[in-house]
Symmetry: C2
Subunit: 351 residues, 2 copies
């Protein structure tokens, strides 16, 4: 057997056992911290582990248990700051509990979402954090239900009869945006959004509309909602402005809408906030840096991730009871992109 040096196999528990002169079972017990091991033997095991650089193989370790120490995370995309931060947080929290996070992007497709879920089910993950493409009533949640999977739904959801949900309190945040805009004197406001994400977009719109109409019954609120993709939304927005509509403020119900709105303003040579005001749901680093700084609703990523994992691990550990629906409060940053209509140049208030 001269081929031992090239492909150095990693030490297994048996290698440790034979070097320490005990059985594999004893090694396992030592590592688990079981008390009924002679200190002398324990020391020899520790020495052997040290010398061989032994580490438990998580794959083999997970073989025997029904729920493996793996958490699956499915996000609609990885490209935005929000989901990037979310994955970072989830990974960190999973790691803290000795779990491995396997993250996958559904790329905004419900079909892919279910495929990924099926693959995670094959892996017998202990639980799944799912940020559905559309809402809690999609095929993915149904799949999880049908297969008795443990999971938590986040972000584009309100509440569910089978799974705990955690999301940002869009309604409250939208109400605050409405208060700000109405307070600044806006009476013609355009809301922009994507229809497919029904749950959240509708909530945001309702929260906004209700509060706005309550404060100023004469306010006019236009809505441009596209089916599912960004480009149609851009086209609709272009048409809307082409018809001569001139709202004094735009409230974008999601991040890409803010980008689309900005680029449409630019195409028409409008400047914020002199020509039109802009607030967007979802914050991004660049928004504080551009001229003008863009006002935005900041979602509490850490809180959402934290409570999602908390709920998930509680279920994994067998907690019973009806599913909970958490709403985490957002913060609204009114930056320079919001001014008063017809006021001309105005100076931003520092945040």
């Amino acid at each position: 057997m001269a081929h031992r040096q090239d492909q150095q196999r990693r030490a297994s528990i048996h290698d440790v056992a034979s070097r320490a002169g005990v059985s594999a079972a004893t090694v396992s017990k030592v590592m688990a911290g079981v008390a009924t091991v002679k200190p002398e033997n324990a020391q020899r095991v520790f020495d052997a582990i040290e010398q061989l650089g032994y580490r438990v193989d998580p794959l083999a370790s997970d073989m025997r248990r029904a729920k493996r120490r793996i958490i699956g995370a499915i996000m609609p995309e990885f490209e935005s700051e929000f989901f990037g931060q979310m994955v970072t947080q989830l990974e960190s929290l999973a790691e803290q509990r000795g779990y491995t996070l396997v993250a996958a992007s559904s790329r905004e497709s419900e079909a892919r979402e279910t495929e990924i879920l099926a693959r995670m089910h094959d892996w017998r993950v202990a639980g799944v954090v799912l940020a559905p493409v559309r809402n809690e009533h999609g095929p993915a949640a149904a799949f999880m239900k049908a297969n008795g999977m443990t999971g938590v739904l986040i972000d584009r959801v309100l509440s569910d009869d089978a799974f705990d949900t955690v999301s940002a309190d869009s309604a409250a945040a939208s109400a605050e945006v409405a208060r700000e805009l109405i307070g600044k004197g806006h009476r013609h406001i355009l809301a922009v959004g994507l229809g497919e994400q029904a749950a959240t977009v509708r909530t945001r719109l309702d929260g906004f509309r209700t509060t706005a109409l309550n404060l100023a019954p004469d306010v006019r609120i236009d809505v441009v909602l596209a089916e599912s993709h960004v480009e149609p939304l851009r086209a609709q927005l272009r048409d809307y402005f082409a018809e001569g509509e001139r709202p004094t403020a735009v409230y974008s119900l999601f991040l890409k809408g803010t980008l689309v709105a900005l680029s449409e303003f630019r195409r028409r040579g409008w400047h914020c906030p002199n020509d039109i005001s802009l607030v967007g749901f979802d914050d991004a680093e660049w928004m504080q840096v551009t001229w003008p700084a863009i006002a935005a609703v900041v979602q509490p990523v850490r809180q959402i991730a934290g409570h999602a994992m908390e709920a998930l691990f509680a279920r994994i550990e067998g907690e019973e009871g009806p599913p909970t629906a958490r709403l985490e409060p957002c913060r609204v940053f009114m930056r320079e992109s919001v001014g008063s209509p017809g006021n001309g140049p105005h100076s931003a208030k520092p945040q």
Copy 2:
């Protein structure tokens, strides 16, 4: 055994075998497409699989092989578009080959990088795609080398004597930026960067400087390089401008530098491109949307991911030979943030 209905265990290969009236080995062969199975038996196996909804457990399947069908990916962060796209691509490519991608963020820490790597080694991953925090000479690459791991290094690397590398051709892109700026008449240019990422930042700087000096020997190139973190860079930049320096253009050698530069401009009331021009390495969606649109070097994410995975799988399949060092060409988008010096109305007013 009345407790069977609540915790429905998934069907194993033995369940399929007994239902089909054959042995587990035969089921395995049928699934592997081995020819030496009687068609009649094969059909019964297929039927049993269908009826039980059987799917192979990838964990158990991987147990026996030395290299598991898992690829590890370690990125410095997930929050930026670049790495977000990278992870999405890598995941997609891994999935295409029947591998599972496990991604983790080193959060710009070399210590964490090595920890994650050790954990991936425990998982006996078939290969690792590592985007090092600093460069190819860090502890993570050393760990991979010492443990005989298979891997590819990407992004902040040039070349390595043990691993294949794939990164953007920073030098060529920087040269093009230099040509553009010199061509527009700039003769006092500030380059901004972070020092720790030595490999790429140095390359970018050298490529830029060499070409600029070649085209215009009288050009003055200042450099503001911070140790490792963004905030010190911001402070240094502030000091630089506070001393009265007024370059006509800034070339940021990495994304966050672009943001820092923009926010410093804003603090001082300078506008692009009238007061100062700006080009950044690394593109982002928002850069096309702001006033002005920010000129940027776009890295070929798909190409980098594609060639990284290609190289990685070649090595996994046993390909020998010296490590390769690939450079993928970038594209430079000269947007509105770049103009000619002294051309526009200097609207600089202290805020």
